[in-house]
Symmetry: C2
Subunit: 375 residues, 2 copies
């Protein structure tokens, strides 16, 4: 119920996922509205779709820590509890991501050895998609956390991209010795040691810079949630801007101020490029769809004891469908157990689940409910 | 002499600038090699071009602080001293940027009130170019430094884009209250106060996120040099990748594995998109040139007592020409004095030139030469 257009794309996306894949969906929210939406897409009584009523909704304005205490009948709370109780195998939400993080922490708890859960997501690139982790859960981090984000990202990458030993890099301002911050250099040392272990399920490529992401140099890029969020949004912004510029250019943008009546040569050039633009339009649309960040279907909240997918607030039917299918893949792959196993190899660095506040940035979390945390 | 292909593009670019604009150039480096390059571009004895011999070269592998002490006859050292002595109005180099920073600090010194010089540069965007500062000089910063980067960026923007009161934003992981790091929130408070001054030559838009940069929301974006460098390189990487993908798509990329002989409809679509690609190619090339980050001609090292332009190591003739012309514009605009005046309004926040090490990240600078620093 928390997405920008909820529950419309949630319901239509869930129904589409049920029809495409061997999975079942529990819709959690206002029963009457969910039934209306099911009827709208011709899916009343659809096999594999059930409804769990929730009287309250977490909004984008709700404070993540407070809303957990105050709205105990929210759709987010009830859906998370379904996962904790084993009545669902994964949670998908396009709502308030800080609140999703808080609910996952307090209801599902962290995996053993995880200091802070992080958000991992895939980016399309010419040489194959790469994984970025963390893209926004933790803005102020310690070296052990950053090193864990690398391992969480690698675990995501193994499931989503099927690479058994992904190449992991640490995002920095250059790959030469001496580059990076105190934070990244300390994480560099931790990861160098972890990658040397005989059973390490990744290789470590050291510091990588922003342009390396698109060159197929690494499969997984680890960074703090502040930088990762900036990278995510800069990519979206650059891609949107470039597609707009390409379209304008192909449509024959008007000449700059001061240009008089164009010469015949210029007119020919304009006709030529407009024609080219019209012919190229389907190719561009196909490309835009292929690199659409929403197409990947959402990000994984990695490091909590359960599968939690954070979808974009503006998700449409396709994005929600892909988010549900992605959640199904992670659950089928037994992700939390595999993550815990891969982090076990890293426990020697001193990272434990017992340090620091488990809350999302900017929140003052309530004490976790008894027995609820997995740490 | 420090660029990747030096001194070839430096000489051809300088000659091109002298021929296009009312300026003079002093080429600093190995006299014989510079004369050879001048002869190669038919510019031996060119009016407005002189040579100052330098026997040594700073390489990309040289440590910024050490090389200042060790290579006293380097082209970078001698060129910087020409500016300090008033025999040149600006320095342009495509060499080791850490060494450029170190030489500028130790020879020219900081402007009064500047804690750390920062690198400002312009980015092309659909709604007009924006300025990003810092893109790499300082990776670990304090709030007063970050606030100063905003003012240095605004000063750059006033000269380069002619906006009398640029709108300034602080890069963060979201614009909602509570977003940002401890660092950005503290700088937010400093800039809110500075923008309220009656003579403030900028307006403050608060936190902005990565996607806002391309939406014309602000003219200047301030960030630390770590994040700024990542943004700069991610933009280059995304743009390169997208142009490659657009080209492949327009050329009719082969169908994925498992695709059999294409149906007639698919063949028509392929012909159509290949034809569109051929017709669109000139438009794409024109666009690619227009958004080429090298076309802006280099970045300004803002906050030192002199005009210093850092060109990309891979600069070609056009990029070097534009860098020289940009240096000329800043010198003609009296940039250092204007910067000092705009920072004066900010002195009340307690920022002074006396705190911390003035060295570039990762260096152990020697003590500044007597009287050499402007702080």
């Amino acid at each position: 119920m928390g997405g920008d257009a909820a529950p419309r794309p949630e319901v239509s996306g869930a129904v589409a996922a049920v029809r495409e894949a061997a999975l079942e969906v529990v819709l959690v929210g206002d029963r009457a509205r969910l039934e209306d939406e099911l009827a709208r897409v011709g899916a009343r009584g659809e096999r594999g779709v059930t409804i769990e009523h929730a009287a309250e909704v977490v909004t984008m304005d709700d404070h993540p820590g407070e809303v957990f205490r105050k709205k105990r009948a929210s759709s987010l709370r009830i859906a998370t509890e379904l996962v904790q109780a084993g009545r669902a195998h994964a949670l998908v939400s396009a709502g308030n991501s800080g609140a999703i993080l808080a609910h996952a922490l307090f209801v599902l708890g962290r995996l053993p050895g995880v200091e802070r859960p992080a958000i991992a997501t895939a980016f399309p690139a010419p040489h194959g998609a790469f994984t970025l982790c963390d893209v926004g859960a933790n803005v102020d981090v310690r070296p052990t956390m950053l090193a864990q984000f690398a391992l969480l990202g690698a675990a995501y990458d193994r499931v989503v991209h099927g690479r058994p030993r992904p190449r992991v890099g640490l995002l920095a301002n250059g790959s030469e010795p001496g580059k990076g911050t105190g934070l990244t250099r300390a994480a560099h040392a931790l990861l160098t040691a972890a990658a040397a272990a005989p059973d390490a399920a990744f290789t470590f490529a050291g510091h990588v810079e922003g342009s390396d992401l698109w060159r197929g140099v690494v499969d997984v890029v680890a960074t703090d949630g502040f930088t990762g969020n900036v990278v995510l949004k800069v990519c979206e912004g650059v891609a949107d801007a470039l597609f707009g510029l390409v379209r304008a250019e192909l449509a024959g943008a008007p000449a700059g101020p001061g240009a008089g009546r164009p010469a015949v040569g210029a007119q020919v050039a304009t006709v030529r490029r407009r024609l080219g633009g019209a012919l190229a339009a389907p190719a561009l649309r196909s490309l835009e769809k292929r690199i659409d960040f929403a197409e990947t279907g959402g990000a994984l909240l990695a490091g909590v004891d359960g599968v939690v997918i954070i979808a974009h607030g503006r998700s449409d039917t396709t994005a929600m469908k892909n988010a549900v299918k992605l959640a199904h893949r992670f659950a089928a792959a037994g992700l939390p157990a595999r993550l815990a196993a891969s982090l076990g190899a890293f426990g020697a660095t001193g990272a434990t689940g017992s340090t620091g506040s488990p809350g999302p940035a900017g929140t003052t979390p309530p004490p976790p409910p008894g027995g609820g945390t997995g740490a």
